[in-house]
Every structure is written in structure tokens, then in C-alpha cells.
């Protein structure tokens, strides 16, 4: 019996190992780098985003940002002698929203088309979970404009990626990075807000609470660290954890007696955000105190429930609002002329696609394009060269200077600060205030 198990074990370990060696051989075989002219003169740049159904409004504006980048690159002949073809895919499934299975199928079919150099996407973290292993094995570059889940690229307790959240070995089966993203991860939300409140609002004392969950406790912890580093005072020196309950009045009473400038909450509007904000109003000392949090509270329902009474409300979103960035103004003009209203991720998608185009341009100095859509061997060489170029890229995008760290995360950690304001007709909603970049 024991011997049988041993055999199964050896087979289980051995087969992937053999495949890996074979795959490595395939990638390593040089295929006549001099023959640049033998390849196709069209190259495809794909997106995989949710652009229909329930996600249409946010997904389509993201896709349009990427589309604009391809159009402009063609007009400006960024890659001399080649035609760039935009190849958009929709990962909305039968359920009417983004679907991990649909996303995985899209990536598989994009990999099957040898002319596709790389993919901008996915939009949602759960879609990334199914797409990343497939893209990693191919390999083909994925550049997400919007994924913020730290565990897609990071490991370890400090970012809450242990146990079931320790996903990197599964997402990166070959061990090398093929996935990149332009959205800063959740663990930077706390510092982004701390910088803004301390430096711009000149708040000095903060009372910090969290909902005891991975996301909430995480951003609260990093807020406390940054606030202390900046020289601010965190009341009691830590975040006050409280599991979603009916009454937060005891903590808020204690907070009120310390007269903080701001209450920072790590959590979602539904795990306490809205209730805490409403209960703050019942405590006279907290009625004009500011309330701040991460993107978990940046929901229209929160703004509607809180309204315009009491102190100001702030939230961070890991997407730069292009209208607030001076360097992005010509993009904003071009986009609005062509597609109308700018979406929250349009600018990030524009940069993501430009990065892919720049990396492909660099790759083409080392190798050449596949000769037709079925030239899988050369596709693999080109795509690997694109990935290598992305790893070392240094690019001035409209959202800032972008390069990638060893995990594939952007070094340009830019956030938009939103505030609840009257967006017209006395209707309260989140409105962008400014953008901040975390060092």
C-alpha cells in the first residue's frame, strides 16, 4: 500500500517536472532572430474586460481607454512598419456580470491566436484568479488596470495573504512573473489616506477602528503606521477592532472624549461603515469630526445614507481620476471627444495599453512577429520578450512614471481621494477631490 502511494507521489511530482523541462526547452530554442521581415505586419493588442450586462458602464469606459491608446499608437506610428489591431474581449458571462470561467476561456482563445502580443485585463480580482494560471503557463502578459487584491501578487502575513489567501504559487505556476497591474494594492490605501489627511487637511489626531476582517484590519493597520510615521497621534496607539454589531456607541463615546480630528474606519459600508458614521452624529463631540476609510465605504448607498450632515467624509479609490492630473489633460480631451464621459479606470487602461505597446516595440528589436495566427512557436518567443520588456520598463504615462517591482505591482501607487458632496440638486454622492501618490 505504502509503495503504491510512493508511486503516485513520484508520478504526481514527476509529470509536471517533465512538462516544465519540456516547456523550458521550447522557450529557450532560438528561432532565427535575424528574420524580422518574415513575420506578420499586423500585431494584435487584446483586452479582457466586462463590457456588457451589469458591468457595462464601468467596463466599457475602461475598454475605451485602451482602445484610444491603440488608435493613437497607429496614428503616431509608434511601432514603425506594423499595423496595431485592437482585439477586445468581453468576460461577462451568462449571469450578466463578470464571469471567471468566461474570462479563462477568453484568455485561452487569445493565447491560441499567435498574433496577440499581450492582454490588458482583467478588471475583477476573481476573474484574475482563473486567468492568471493560464496566462502564466502560456506565457502571455496580463496587465490589469484595476485589480487591487494584494494576494494576487504578494504573500505573507503582513498583507494578509496566508492560508487560503496564499494564492501566488497557484497563480504563478511557472514561478516567473507574467501578470502586471497599475492599481495600487489595498495595503497602500491606509497610507494614501493618512498622507492626505495629515498633509493636506492638517489633521493631527486620529481615532482608528476596523471591522476585524482581512481587508479592514489591514488598511487600518497601515493607516496607523503611516499616521505615526508622519508625526500624528493615534488615540490609544492602535486600531480598535469591532466585529459587525448593532451598536458602536461605546467605542464612539470613548473616541468622543479624546476629541479626534478624524475617525478612520477600515472596513466596508456594510460591515459598520454606514452605522458608525450615523452613530457618530449621536455624540455631540463627534458631530463635526471627519470620517475616512478605504474604497469599502466609497459606495453611493453610504453617501446617500450619510448625506451632507456632520463632518466631511473621505475615501480612497485605487484609480487615478484623470481630470485631476495636469499631465493627463490632453488624454481627457481626446477621450471625451471620442467616447464622452470618462470612466474611473479609463486613464489606467490607456496607460496599461501604452505599456503593452512600448514593451512590444522593445521586444521587436530582439525578435520578430509570428508569420500567421497559427505560428504558436514564434508567438511564445515574442510574448516572452514582451514580458521581459515589461519587467524592466520605465515609462512616463499620463498617470505618472510607471515601472513594475519584482511582483509585477506598479511603483506608481496613485489614489484618488473622494469626498461626499452635493453632486447636484441636493443629491449627495462621492466626488473626486484630488489624487495622491504613495511613496
Amino acid at each position: 500500500m505504502r509503495r503504491l502511494w510512493l508511486r503516485i507521489f513520484v508520478l504526481a511530482m514527476g509529470i509536471p517536472l517533465m512538462l516544465a523541462i519540456l516547456a523550458a526547452c521550447g522557450a529557450g530554442t532560438p528561432s532565427n532572430p535575424g528574420a524580422a521581415t518574415t513575420g506578420s505586419t499586423t500585431i494584435k493588442f487584446a483586452t479582457d474586460l466586462p463590457v456588457s450586462g451589469g458591468d457595462a458602464s464601468i467596463g466599457k469606459s475602461t475598454e475605451d481607454g485602451a482602445h484610444l491608446a491603440v488608435d493613437e499608437a497607429n496614428a503616431n506610428h509608434v511601432i514603425q512598419g506594423y499595423t496595431l489591431v485592437f482585439d477586445p474581449q468581453d468576460d461577462v458571462g451568462v449571469g450578466g456580470v463578470h464571469d471567471p470561467t468566461k474570462g479563462a476561456n477568453n484568455v485561452t482563445s487569445l493565447i491560441g491566436d499567435a498574433l496577440v502580443a499581450g492582454v490588458v485585463g482583467p478588471f475583477n480580482s476573481n476573474v484574475a484568479l482563473t486567468e492568471m494560471p493560464i496566462a502564466n503557463n502560456a506565457p502571455i502578459a496580463l496587465i490589469s488596470p484595476s485589480n487591487t487584491n494584494p494576494c494576487l501578487t504578494k504573500r505573507g502575513e503582513s498583507v494578509g495573504c496566508t492560508g487560503a489567501n496564499d494564492q501566488v504559487p497557484k497563480l504563478r505556476p511557472t514561478g516567473s512573473v507574467t501578470y502586471f497591474r497599475l492599481a495600487a494594492t489595498d495595503d497602500h490605501q491606509g497610507p494614501a489616506m493618512a498622507d492626505y489627511l495629515f498633509n493636506t487637511q492638517h489633521y493631527k489626531t486620529a481615532y482608528v477602528m476596523d471591522d476585524t476582517e482581512t481587508y479592514g484590519a489591514g488598511i487600518a493597520k497601515y493607516f496607523v503606521q503611516e499616521w505615526t510615521k508622519l508625526g500624528g497621534t493615534v488615540i490609544d496607539g492602535k486600531s480598535h477592532s469591532v466585529k459587525s454589531t448593532t451598536s458602536y456607541l461605546n467605542l464612539l463615546t470613548a473616541a468622543g472624549s479624546a476629541h479626534p480630528d478624524v475617525i478612520y474606519f477600515g472596513g466596508n459600508y456594510s460591515t459598520g461603515g454606514t452605522l458608525i458614521r450615523k452613530q457618530m452624529l449621536t455624540i455631540p463631540a463627534l458631530q463635526q469630526t471627519a470620517f475616512a476609510g478605504g474604497d469599502g465605504i466609497a459606495d453611493t448607498s453610504f453617501a446617500k445614507a450619510v448625506g451632507l450632515s456632520g463632518g466631511p467624509n473621505y475615501a480612497t479609490i485605487a484609480a487615478p481620476d484623470a481630470t485631476k492630473i495636469p499631465a493627463a489633460q490632453s488624454f481627457v480631451k481626446d477621450y471625451q471627444a471620442k467616447y464622452g464621459e470618462l470612466g474611473p479606470y479609463s486613464a489606467a487602461a490607456f496607460d496599461a495599453m501604452n505599456l503593452l505597446i512600448q514593451a512590444t516595440k522593445a521586444a521587436l528589436t530582439k525578435t520578430h512577429t509570428p508569420k500567421d495566427p497559427s505560428d504558436a512557436a514564434q508567438a511564445q518567443v515574442l510574448r516572452q520578450a514582451v514580458i521581459d520588456a515589461l519587467k524592466g520598463i520605465s515609462y512616463n504615462g499620463i498617470t505618472g512614471h510607471i515601472s513594475f517591482d519584482s511582483n509585477g505591482d506598479t511603483t506608481n501607487k496613485i489614489f484618488t481621494i473622494y469626498q461626499v458632496a452635493d453632486v447636484g440638486g441636493g443629491k449627495p454622492d462621492w466626488a473626486p477631490r484630488t489624487v495622491v501618490t504613495v511613496q
Partner: protein, 316 residues
């Protein structure tokens, strides 16, 4: 010290709401020995009724009412909340419990859970999945008494809870209807033989119990002013615990249980953020729900019938 006194105020003000809801659990249990799991959701429907009534009257945060108009609006909202809940309670009893009155005790319990889910879905349907705020119709005025602050809304909650409690106690012990209720609770068949209309008395119990949840919902909306489809479940669980803690079936026990839980939830703030056994990791507030239930278990181990015990003496 000031903080401690303030926490007591907060504890009593939240405990009063728990107590009002707990009364409904305990009344129904006292008379037909059924744990009415739908009771918390009736509370949610009450918050919804208050909200709808305010919307119907066209009241927003911006409309500053005062004087008689304010009093009239408050009365109207309060009555609509109480009536909607009370009628809902009677309907639930008629539809889901009465046909099962002679069935095994598990059957009405399951139908109670079913009703609870139906009400929650109605809440989802009307409120959506997000917390919804109620217009602040009654301006919140803080009073400063020595070192402590107390809002007019908190005073209102406490006064309403006390009045309703005293009224209910008086009704149960001093009136003919109360006597009929106690008779049905003691021995349904004997009461029927003595000419008590058992069905009507049970319906009346549901009417009053659910009406109290409606009153609780009204004062809750004035005090906190934000509701959600699952708020009934959250408050219901705590109120049910309060009823058991005080001794289920016992009206005074429900009041006491509510207050005790309100105070415990408030005072767990003093449990320091340290490793066991000198504190709890994350501080007491991270564990407040667990602490409430730990206290419940301890009390039930030493006093199985709750703090004040069930009112079973009359059953001799």
C-alpha cells in the same frame, strides 16, 4: 469616571431597545411556548414602516419641523409603525402558527424561521441590500448633566420603554384581558371551558407583542436613523438572548435582560487589548458578541430559568 458614566447612559439607551423587542419574544413564549423567530424581522418591518411614512409625508433632512406639526408627524409615524407591526403579527399568527397549534412543537418553529426569511426578503425587496438612512425628523438635542451628555432621543427611548413596560405589566396583572392571557398561558383547555376565547387572546398577544416591536422600531429610527434588511436578525438575536437571560416568559425578566446586555456591550470597552488571561486580543469590543453569549451560558448553567426565572408559580 465621566467616560464610565457616559458608557452607562449609552448602555441603558441601547438596552432599552433590546428590552422592548425582548418583550415580544417573552409574551409569545409565555402564552403558546413558541419562539417566534420572525419577531426580529417584525422590528425590521417597523423601521421600514417609519421610513415609508416619513417618505410618504415628504419629509427630508432639510425639512425642519417644530411645534405641533412635529408632534403630529411623530405621532403619525409612531402609530403607523406600531399598527403595521401589530397587524403583521396577527396575520403571521393566523397564517403560519394557528394551523400548526396542535402539531408537534418543531413544526411551528420551522414555520417561524420560514416567516423570518420571507420578511427578510420583503426587506431586501424594498430597502435593497444596503443600509438606508431615515430623515432626521426629530432634531437631536444633547443635554449636559454634570460630566455626562444625554440626547433627547436617548431620553425618549428610555421613557417610552419604561412607560410601555409599566403599562404592559399593569395590563397583564390588573385587567380582565390580562387575566384571560394568564389563564390561556396556564391551561388553554381549561380557559376555553371557562369561556375565554383562546384564539382571540392569542391573536391579541401577537398584536401587542408585535406592536411593541413597532414602538421599538420607531424610537430606534429616531435614535440611530439607519436601517437595513437584516437589522431584524441582528437585533432579534440579541433581544431573544435578553429574553432568555431574564427568564423567558417573564416580562420583567425581558426588561432586565435587555438592560444587562446593553450595559455589557457598552462596558466591554474596559477589557484591555492583551493576551489571555489578562485581556482579549484586539480588546473587548472585538469580542462583545462572544462575551454576551458567554454570560448567557454562565447564567443558564447556574440559573437554568434565567435571572428572574419563568413565571411558573401560577402553574401549580
Amino acid at each position: 469616571m465621566a467616560l464610565f458614566l457616559q458608557l452607562l447612559v449609552v448602555g441603558v439607551a441601547t438596552g432599552a431597545i433590546y428590552a422592548l423587542i425582548a418583550l415580544g419574544y417573552t409574551m409569545v413564549y409565555g402564552i403558546i411556548e413558541l419562539i417566534n423567530f420572525a419577531h426580529g424581522d417584525i422590528f425590521m418591518v417597523g423601521t421600514l414602516a417609519s421610513l415609508s411614512m416619513l417618505n410618504l409625508l415628504g419629509i427630508t433632512d432639510a425639512s425642519h419641523l417644530a411645534g405641533w406639526i412635529l408632534a403630529g408627524v411623530l405621532l403619525l409615524v409612531c402609530l403607523s409603525s406600531i399598527l403595521v407591526c401589530a397587524v403583521l403579527g396577527v396575520v403571521i399568527e393566523r397564517v403560519a402558527y394557528r394551523p400548526l397549534r396542535n402539531a408537534p412543537r418543531l413544526a411551528p418553529l420551522i414555520s417561524a424561521i420560514g416567516v423570518s426569511l420571507v420578511l427578510e426578503d420583503i426587506g431586501k425587496f424594498t430597502l435593497g441590500l444596503t443600509p438606508v438612512a431615515t430623515p432626521a425628523v426629530l432634531p437631536r438635542i444633547p443635554y449636559f448633566i454634570g460630566p455626562i451628555t444625554i440626547n433627547n432621543t436617548d431620553i425618549l427611548v428610555i421613557v417610552v420603554a419604561l412607560l410601555l413596560m409599566v403599562g404592559l405589566q399593569w395590563m397583564v396583572t390588573r385587567t380582565r384581558i390580562g387575566r384571560a392571557m394568564r389563564a390561556v398561558a396556564q391551561d388553554r383547555e381549561a380557559a376555553a371551558l371557562m369561556g375565554v376565547n383562546v384564539d382571540r387572546i392569542i391573536a391579541l398577544t401577537f398584536f401587542i407583542g408585535a406592536g411593541l416591536a413597532g414602538a421599538a422600531a420607531f424610537v430606534y429610527q429616531l435614535q440611530i436613523g439607519v436601517t437595513e434588511f437584516d437589522i431584524g436578525f441582528r437585533y432579534g438575536l440579541i433581544a431573544f438572548t435578553a429574553a432568555v437571560l431574564g427568564g423567558i416568559g417573564n416580562l420583567l425578566g425581558a426588561m432586565l435582560g435587555g438592560l444587562v446586555i446593553g450595559l455589557v456591550q457598552s462596558l466591554v470597552l474596559y477589557i484591555p487589548d492583551r493576551d489571555l488571561p489578562f485581556g482579549l486580543p484586539g480588546g473587548g469590543t472585538a469580542w462583545s458578541q462572544a462575551i454576551v453569549f458567554a454570560i448567557l451560558i454562565l447564567i443558564l448553567v447556574f440559573r437554568p430559568s434565567g435571572l428572574l426565572g419563568q413565571q411558573t408559580a401560577e402553574k401549580v
